[in-house]
């Protein structure tokens, strides 16, 4: 062997095979390379070690203690099955042993039915038996953190319910830096059309308008029959700077978007703001605001931190430059943390920047205070007029709202028109506001004729279903249903207005349509009046029977009616009328019921700390689950009403489980319940399992579950509504 040959051979043996080749060697594949690798291994300890490592990885080595699922997993599985959760598993194409071309299509099909029993209630959207996971696909945005004005490409792996479409619509709710809180009346825009490719993925792209900083996204078919809103979470875009950090304004708009949609996520957004923009008072103001709304501002750790931040900003703005807006925010932020610092900044604000939004709000409060003291509406309205002139746009609507109410109380038609016009400049749902104005006008004799005209206009406008007026997650069926409710309400308003203006024949015509749709006490009352006026006693009594059987009607009404009714119809006739009305009540109420399963069986804790489960409390009976919080004004206000409902329903065997958003029982909570004479059984949602099981946010929120433990009606914040629903359900099950 020559020297050259020796070098070549050495080289041959010393060239390490790629690790993948060692894997092949172990698997017995690639026989061509076998002898070369075997020879190499004889000389190479390092590759032998790798081979040993690979041998060690074979499946038999992986049975270490602890690699077993937790003991509760089977119970969790059986619970999910019992609560009707379903998962569509990926289809199994013959993978093992196949050497054919990878079947990408079947993979996409598998991904299209991505399962999602993601800790929420399975809400059926289109068909009654849509299975879990059929409603949520996967949306990938590239880039995920775009810069202003950048093009974003979209790939959507469709949910089963959308997979068969050739084209889908990417919907968006786009927010610019000045967009308002809450999502009422926000136009939904078509951001892009997504086309299905040969691989089954839907793709498209869109340019983020330069002024847009945040967008919430959902995917729908072109006729809006089905919408995938990522199981209620929406997909999102936060516009970022060149380093990939979301712009402050993007986070600011996300916080606005989360208001009324998901408060916890709003709080999380504020936390992120202070993490990324710790020197920005706006970030800390958001955090303080969400903590206030979520009732956490009293927590010691939060109080300490707020105090420290206030001191920091106080010295920063005292020693440096403070804009009018900074002064306003300082005054707001300090309020409730340190009264002397707050007073200092408030005084400086009023002197230096009286037209700042915060300043205008405080001036408005001062004006309203004088109303309580002197009750001089005319003077107050003049002061508000002056304030309105000097105010920036965003508190203007607030001033107008108060002024409109006062003008209506005073029945001053000129001022009513002036202030409603001004109020219309504000945010929120413009259509809703127009309907509200039309309805209010019909109640004021001098404006009634105009109101009737406006109501008719609004009814005409409801006939058209504008895609831009669909909420981001709304299907066309849901939009139609929403319009039908509005239409019924307007019909009722119109009918009542016609009754009030003496046009009984016209009223009957309008109201008969309203009566034939849904169950609405206002409508029944108006029809009764119109019928009596037209001398149609029989029809009036039919309406009276409906009013009587509704559990929201006071028993006094029913009692006082009986002698009259029995005189006209006889006792048997009146009882028959009541029986028909009861049937109608149950039928109409249940028309708006959509059964959903509760996720799992949430644990709750009683006031003595004992753990129990919702099923044990409901015991297979119709049950109201009433979520409330000690830190929510409307919930506290409604507490006595709900308690009265509970007392009343106890007689008919309907249970009320009151669930309070607190982890542990406390003397303060017990005292709170005693002070308000709350007697209904109250439980603590210690692990948030209750709110998760119902997929609910915010309080008050009342649900009705049936004997089978399913949710029968979406949550409502009206104790009276839930009373009627629970009664209807109980009557239907008897």
């Amino acid at each position: 062997m020559s020297f050259i040959d020796k070098v070549t051979v050495m080289h041959y043996f010393s060239r390490h095979p790629a690790h993948a080749e060692l894997s092949d060697f172990l698997a017995g594949s690639d026989p061509g390379a076998r002898s070369r690798i075997a020879s190499h291994l004889e000389h190479c300890q390092s590759c032998r070690d790798v081979l040993q490592l690979l041998r060690g990885a074979s499946a038999s080595q992986w049975n270490a203690p602890g690699t077993e699922p937790s003991p509760e997993l089977l119970a969790r599985i059986l619970e999910s099955r019992a609560s009707d959760a379903r998962v569509i598993l990926p289809s199994d194409t013959q993978i093992a042993g196949s050497r054919s071309t990878p079947n990408r299509l079947s993979l996409i099909a598998a991904a299209a039915v991505i399962l999602a029993v993601i800790g929420g209630v399975l809400v059926t959207r289109t068909a009654s038996d849509v299975e879990a996971g059929a409603t949520s696909g996967t949306l990938v945005l590239n880039p995920a953190m775009p810069r202003p004005g950048q093009t974003v490409s979209v790939t959507y792996r469709a949910a089963a319910m959308l997979a068969n479409q050739p084209t889908l619509v990417l919907r968006a709710r786009m927010r610019d830096t000045g967009s308002e809180s809450y999502n009422a009346g926000f136009p939904t825009v078509r951001a892009a059309m997504l086309q299905r490719g040969a691989d089954g993925d839907f793709t498209g792209h869109f340019v983020i308008p330069a002024n847009i900083v945040y967008a919430a996204l959902a995917v729908a078919d072109t006729s809006a029959q089905s919408v995938d809103d990522n199981a209620g979470r929406d997909w999102e875009i936060l516009v970022s700077d060149s380093t990939g950090k979301p712009l402050f304004t993007a986070l600011d708009q996300r916080a606005n978007d989360m208001m009324g949609r998901n408060w916890e996520e709003g709080l999380a957004t504020a936390h992120r703001m202070v993490a990324l923009y710790p020197r920005d008072l706006r970030a800390w103001s958001w955090l303080r605001a969400f903590n206030r709304w979520l009732g956490k501002v009293g927590d010691d750790s939060i109080r300490v931190r707020d105090r420290a931040q206030l001191a920091k900003f106080d010295s920063m703005f005292t020693n440096g430059v403070a804009s009018d807006a900074d002064i306003g925010r300082m005054a707001w932020f300090a309020d409730g943390i340190d009264s002397s610092i707050a007073a200092h900044w408030r005084a400086r604000l009023m002197q230096q920047a009286p037209r700042n939004s915060f300043a205008v709000q405080w001036r408005l409060i001062a004006i309203l205070d004088t109303l309580h003291q002197r009750n001089d509406t005319a003077t107050v309205l003049r002061q508000m007029d002056a304030l309105w002139d000097s105010a920036p746009l965003d508190p203007k609507a607030q001033i107008a709202t108060y002024a409109t109410g006062m003008a209506m109380d005073a029945a001053d038609t000129t001022l009513i028109k002036l202030w409603t016009t001004r109020q219309a400049l504000g945010g929120g749902d413009k259509r809703d506001f127009a309907r509200w104005v039309a309805t209010q006008f019909t109640k004021i004799p001098a404006l009634r004729a105009e109101g009737i005209k406006l109501v008719r206009n609004e009814m005409d406008s409801l006939a058209i279903l504008h895609p831009s007026e669909q909420a981001l997650d709304e299907t066309i069926a849901e939009q139609r249903a929403r319009h039908n409710v509005s239409r019924r309400n307007l019909l009722a308003t119109l009918g009542q207005a016609l009754v009030a203006s003496g046009d009984y024949a016209g009223a009957r015509q309008v109201l008969d349509e309203a009566v034939s749709k849904g169950w609405n006490l206002e409508v029944f009352r108006a029809v009764r009046t119109a019928s009596l006026a037209a001398g149609d006693t029989a029809h009036a009594l039919t309406m009276a029977a409906r009013i009587s059987v509704d559990p929201r009607t006071s028993p006094t009404f029913t009692d006082s009616l009986r002698p009259v009714a029995e005189r006209v119809l006889g006792a048997a006739g009146w009882n028959a009328e009541l029986a028909t009305a009861r049937k109608e009540f149950v039928k109409r109420m249940l028309e708006s019921s959509t059964p959903r399963s509760i996720r799992g069986d949430p644990r709750l804790r009683d006031l003595d700390g004992q753990t129990t489960k919702l099923s044990a409390l409901a015991q297979g009976k119709v049950t109201i689950v009433a979520f409330w919080s000690r830190f929510c004004g409307p919930a506290i206000e409604d507490l006595p009403v709900m308690n009265a409902v509970a007392t009343r329903l106890a007689k008919s065997g309907v249970r009320v489980v009151s669930v309070v958003d607190e982890a542990n029982s406390s003397a303060a909570l017990k005292q709170f319940l005693r002070d308000r004479k709350v007697t209904m059984p109250t439980y603590l949602d210690s692990w948030h399992e209750g709110s998760r099981a119902f997929n609910q946010w915010g309080t008050p929120d009342y649900y009705v579950i049936d004997a089978d433990g399913r949710i029968r009606f979406a949550g409502t914040n009206s104790a009276e509504t839930v009373l009627a629903r629970a009664e209807a359900l109980r009557m239907s099950e008897n």
């Binding site: 790629a18 690790h19 993948a20 894997s23 698997a27 594949s29 390092s46 070690d49 790798v50 490592l53 990885a57 499946a59 080595q61 992986w62 270490a64 602890g66 690699t67 077993e68 699922p69 937790s70 997993l73 089977l74 969790r76 599985i77 999910s80 099955r81 019992a82 959760a85 379903r86 998962v87 569509i88 598993l89 990926p90 199994d92 013959q94 993978i95 093992a96 196949s98 050497r99 990878p102 990408r104 993979l107 598998a110 991904a111 991505i114 399962l115 029993v117 038996d129 996967t138 990938v140 945005l141 995920a144 953190m145 999102e236 936060l238 979301p246 709080l267 999380a268 936390h271 992120r272």
Partner: protein
């Protein structure tokens, strides 16, 4: 909801115990006892496979949960596909991969950058893993999936390519990188 197809579709290989037929029938009918029995037999091994793919107990439990919740309906499609345990393993691998894809998607959207709210963190109990197993768990997701599929589950590059939606070449490259990382960690 479609009615279950007749049991005739369940042609099982002789290696399966005969009683399996009855258990499958009960499972297809949605009987909890059937699900529980299949769980006892297969859950531990499926969990380990999922755990190797996902590297997190909580995630592995989630996919095992999903598999068993979906099993009664899926079994109706289980025609002559070979041994049940292999069929289940293929499904758990697909579920795990879907889970990884979802994770990736969620990580690519800003939402998940949010600080976790108290009480939502999942803790992973420490397992008694060998050094090698710990090193595999520490691999980046994409590399770990290829390594586990190849070295532990015994899939071919073509199969891995199909499962992960990458090219055959890429699956070889990833395997080489995974092994190189392990070598540097362990050897």
């Amino acid at each position: 909801m479609k009615m279950p197809r007749p049991h005739a579709v369940l042609t099982l290989q002789s290696s399966e115990p005969l009683t399996q037929d009855k258990v499958l029938g009960r499972t297809i009918a949605g009987d909890p006892s059937g699900i529980a029995e299949l769980y006892e037999r297969h859950a531990a091994s499926l969990f380990r496979t999922a755990y190797r793919m996902l590297g997190s107990r909580a995630d592995a439990e989630d996919v095992v949960h999903d598999l068993f919740v979906g099993l009664p309906e899926a079994l109706r499609r289980y025609e002559d596909r070979g041994r049940l345990d292999q069929w289940l393993t293929r499904i758990i691998i697909r579920l795990s991969l879907m889970h990884l894809r979802n994770e990736r998607r969620r990580r690519s959207t800003p939402l998940m950058d949010m600080p976790q709210l108290a009480g939502t963190e999942r803790s992973d109990a420490r397992l008694e893993l060998t050094e090698l197993e710990q090193a595999v768990m520490a691999l980046p997701t994409g590399l770990r999936a290829v390594f586990v599929l190849r070295q532990v589950e015994g899939y071919s590059y073509e199969e891995i390519a199909a499962l992960l939606d990458i090219s055959v070449g890429a699956s070889r490259v990833r395997l080489t990188r995974a092994i190189e990382r392990l070598r540097r960690t362990l050897l």
